[in-house]
């Protein structure tokens, strides 16, 4: 077939291109994902009854800020990677800064603590379930983001998959923060981060097969 004939075929009756596809699709993904995650939280875990008291504690706000900032950086990275020729950009530094800040804070808290109290600061009462709960709460956002990305054109699919996994995980962590009673920075620095990394790794693995175009 002649290329001119194909160009003819493509141009004829092409109509206008869809407007704001990235904002539209990721807007849907965030809405569906957050609503789904929140529904699972209410059904499976419930909101922490002490949440009102928590709002008076800086530890709670540090935890929530950390999770939300990571979600924001993952979102920006995903949206950028959805278009051909756009790199991750500065979004990754936002994530690096938030992670570094949390880890430094965790080390300071540990160094400051009684040796006997350190184990409680690291493991809390829920270390063994925390990462999996975060991963579970991230699932709706993950699925919705994959859908959003499939309608766009990521040229680095592994990275795009990892970015949307990271975004989903961090949003899942933000939602889980409304239930989770743990506030110790060392706990968050390990188990929350592992929880966020689960969908990130899954995303990078399924990125190429799922996001090809």
């Amino acid at each position: 077939m002649k290329t001119d004939a194909l160009i003819d075929l493509l141009a004829t009756g092409a109509g206008p291109a869809q407007r704001h596809p990235v904002a539209r699709r990721f807007g849907v993904a965030v809405a569906v994902g957050a609503a789904g995650g929140f529904a699972i939280l209410l059904l499976a875990f419930g909101i922490n009854p002490a949440l009102r008291d928590f709002t008076l504690l800086p530890g709670f706000w540090i935890k929530m800020t950390f999770a939300v900032v990571l979600a924001l950086s993952g979102f920006v990275a995903s949206v950028r990677l959805a278009r051909p020729g756009v790199a991750v950009g500065n979004a990754k530094w936002l994530a690096v800064a938030a992670l570094t800040a949390l880890w430094v804070l965790a080390l300071v808290v540990l160094a400051d603590a009684d040796p006997g109290a350190r184990s409680q600061l690291v493991f809390g009462n829920s270390w063994s379930v925390c990462p999996f709960r975060i991963a579970l709460l991230s699932a709706p956002t993950f699925a919705a983001s994959i859908w959003a990305m499939r309608g766009l054109a990521p040229t680095n699919q592994r990275l795009a998959g990892a970015a949307l996994g990271f975004f989903s995980g961090a949003l899942g962590a933000s939602i889980y923060g409304l239930h989770c009673p743990e506030l110790a920075p060392p706990f968050l620095a390990i188990w929350y981060v592992i929880g966020i990394l689960i969908p990130t790794v899954v995303g990078s693995v399924i990125g190429r097969p799922m996001l090809r175009w």
Binding site: K2, A11, G13, A82, P84, A87, T155, W213
Partner: protein, 204 residues
């Protein structure tokens, strides 16, 4: 990787390396046309696709010298991709960078599929701009027969493409002829081109 200025690239073997000004002027003109095309200007879109196809041809021929016969297939595959993904062009960015990223992705995807990395005769990170010479517009026949691929589409998709895209009928007219709603016709044309793109990939 996706820089726009060709000044950073000095390849003496490259035919007709454009000056900065000429490149910028061309980018600006193509981008303006693309914005009109995005708004629904069919004639502008035709010009954009035709000009991009010339650049793509030079780009692929340069990189696939040992399997040059594949270049035109890739040009067509990339044009399909450009069309199917045209909504992802961000008007605040250079059109050339967007197009180059798609061309590069399709090249890497092709080489990965074929497992023929040794066919790569040049760095794929070269600047797209040096491919803008466009002096090789002859022989635009690809190996594959698009008609056969079209015939293999589901009936509703095939009819929509034939009426709207090949016979140039309006969407409303096609809707009447096929008994589909107008939005169904649009959806079917869109799906057909997506399916065509997938078939083109699978046919390799």
């Amino acid at each position: 990787m996706t820089r726009v200025s060709p000044s950073a690239v000095t390849d003496p073997t490259s035919p007709a390396n454009l000056s900065d000004e000429a490149f910028t002027a061309r980018e600006e003109r193509l981008r303006t046309l693309m914005l009109r095309a995005q708004a629904g200007d069919e004639a502008a879109y035709r010009v954009v696709l035709t000009e991009l196809s010339v650049h793509l041809r030079a780009y692929y021929r340069r990189r696939l010298t040992r399997i040059a016969g594949e270049a035109e297939d890739l040009v067509q595959e990339t044009l399909l991709a450009i069309h199917n993904q045209r909504h992802t062009y961000d008007r605040s960015r250079p059109l050339t960078a967007w197009c180059y990223a798609i061309a590069r992705y399709k090249l890497v995807d092709f080489l990965r599929r074929r497992g023929r990395r040794e066919a790569l005769t040049d760095s794929i990170d070269d600047d797209f701009s040096q491919q803008l010479s466009g002096d090789e517009s002859d022989a635009t026949d690809a190996h594959r027969d698009m008609q056969q691929l079209l015939d293999a589409l589901p009936e509703r998709q095939r009819l929509s493409v034939v009426y709207v895209k090949i016979e140039g009928r309006s969407v409303a007219e096609t809707a009447t002829l096929t008994g589909m709603s107008e939005s169904a016709v649009k959806v079917n044309v869109h799906r057909a081109l997506k399916a065509l793109s997938a078939k083109v990939r699978g046919a390799k």
